[in-house]
């Protein structure tokens, strides 16, 4: 079980995370929903050991973990294969690494792009490689920071299917941050709703308890609405963007 207890984080005077305790069920996807700028990415960076926490405890995150970033973060002078190979160095020997890359590229029908460089690929395609990199890396845990954010609706649908397809083959524990309710419902087994800054856990919902997706969506929207009503100006601002 992956667990965090009483995590707090401040940047100077600004308190971003306030006493957050959560459990992330294994082999399931937990979606963290919250308003933009509420510190979701800060939490992920703490889990990935990219940012130091002020206080609290992180349990079960010591092992290797993958990270699907908002941007592709591919190395421009390396081909798809080399980008994937880089993260496997030190994890397995070269032949095994090449075998794994070939296996995965075949699995998702991207073999023909093996020798392409990032600049030769479309944004959606690069993001697929970003997702694939996370699955190829031998980690049980995948951390995802709004991986579908910068994509248009069609691309988003294709990439979400791509992700689900991979997740079904490799039973990995995923922690995904998003601000898109539909995305959370489509991908998550558990949905965690955050409050606005300083961020606290507002509600935890297990999807299996909700047979009716429309009802679930309504309830999540209601949680958001409560927050929206108390901040009408900010809400309007957010709606525009």
């Amino acid at each position: 079980m992956y667990k965090i207890e009483k995590i707090s984080k401040s940047y100077g005077e600004l308190k971003v995370l306030d006493n957050i305790s959560l459990e992330f069920p294994e082999e399931k996807t937990t979606c963290i929903l919250g308003p933009s700028g509420c510190g979701k990415t800060s939490l992920l960076n703490i889990l990935a050991d990219l940012t130091a926490k002020d206080s609290g405890e992180i349990i079960g995150f010591e092992d290797e973990k993958s990270y699907i970033f908002q941007e592709d973060r591919l190395i421009p002078w390396k081909s798809v294969k080399e980008n994937l190979e880089l993260v496997l160095k030190g994890e397995m020997d070269k032949n095994k690494a090449l075998e794994t890359i070939d296996k995965y590229l075949e699995l998702v029908n991207l073999e023909e792009y093996k020798h392409y460089y990032p600049k030769e690929l479309s944004g959606g395609m690069r993001q697929r490689i970003n997702i694939l990199r996370a699955f190829i890396y031998p980690a049980k845990l995948i951390i995802m920071d709004e991986p579908f954010k910068s994509l248009d609706i069609n691309q988003k649908k294709i990439l979400m299917d791509f992700f689900i397809n991979l997740r079904e083959k490799d039973r990995k524990t995923c922690i995904m941050v998003t601000h898109d309710i539909d995305e959370a419902i489509a991908l998550g087994h558990r949905i965690v709703i955050f409050t606005e800054k300083p961020t606290r856990v507002k509600r935890i919902m297990d999807i299996e308890n909700y047979k009716d997706k429309a009802k679930l969506r309504g309830e999540i929207s209601k949680e958001f609405k409560k927050w929206d009503d108390s901040h009408p100006i900010k809400y309007r601002y957010l709606r525009i963007f």
């Binding site: 970033f69 973060r73 190395i75 080399e82 880089l86 030190g90 890396y137």
Partner: protein, 257 residues
């Protein structure tokens, strides 16, 4: 694309022809070999220089000096650049040194070098003070320009430090350097020859240039200029070839290395 390259070549060729035509006309008008030698006397001068039994010694030593000096400058620049990137202390230590080299008039440093150093070393040193700051700053800049997000990615995926340097830092340095390498080599060659003019080593293009000047043999000076231009061009092709070779090795069959 191909068409425009061809056109560029045509323009470049006609500009060269134009220079030669001007040279012919002006040298005819002036009609004085000491002020402006004609093409014929320059070719004769070239023949005389090449038939000198020491010709290959002279250009060999100058080429060796410039290559050797350049490799030293490049190696020191890479080491100091990498160290400066990772150590604030070394970075700060290098700032006044690089500023001193870039802003002090080169000739002042050369005069000091003539006093302090052996005349075989002076040309190398002169090349170094010109080229080192350019190389060092390019290397440092190309490392500082690496996207922090890519480094973060490498950290999350536990890519070890050796691989980060080999796969991320070195290629960035190489990409940065590949743009300036051939011009830096050209500058280095010119500065080494300038150093030779002043320090007069036994076998050197610079020493011979100075000799032609003393004898007021302007056609000899012209002939040496042609030889220097040819060496410069040779360096340029060499560097382009090297860059292409490394690039294709990296980009086409990177798994084999």
């Amino acid at each position: 694309m191909k068409k425009s390259t061809l056109r560029d070549r045509e323009i470049s060729l006609s500009s060269k022809l134009l220079i030669i035509i001007f040279w012919i006309i002006i040298s005819r008008i002036i009609d004085n070999d000491i002020i402006l030698p004609t093409i014929t006397s320059t070719v004769n001068g070239l023949g005389k220089i090449i038939s000198n039994p020491n010709f290959f010694n002279i250009i060999g030593y100058s080429i060796l000096r410039s290559l050797f000096g350049f490799i030293i400058s490049l190696s020191i620049a890479i080491v100091m650049g990498v160290l400066s990137r990772f150590s604030k202390f070394i970075y700060n230590l290098m700032v006044p040194f690089v500023n001193f080299l870039s802003s002090t008039p080169t000739i002042a440093i050369i005069i000091l070098a003539l006093i302090w150093l052996n005349n075989e070393i002076v040309p190398l040193f002169v090349g170094f003070i010109m080229v080192f700051p350019i190389l060092y700053e390019t290397i440092l800049k190309s490392m500082l320009n690496i996207d922090n997000k890519v480094l973060e990615m490498a950290k999350v995926y536990n890519v070890n430090r050796m691989n980060i340097i080999k796969e991320i830092y070195l290629p960035s340095i190489f990409i940065g350097l590949s743009n300036i390498l051939s011009s830096a080599m050209g500058i280095n060659l010119k500065m080494v020859i300038a150093g030779e003019v002043l320090s007069q080593p036994r076998y050197a293009i610079g020493t011979n240039l100075q000799l032609q000047k003393i004898y007021l043999n302007t056609s000899g000076v012209f002939a040496w200029i042609i030889i220097i231009l040819a060496i410069g061009k040779l360096y340029e092709y060499l560097m382009k070839g090297l860059v292409l070779c490394i690039k294709s090795k990296r980009y086409l069959s990177p798994m084999e290395n």
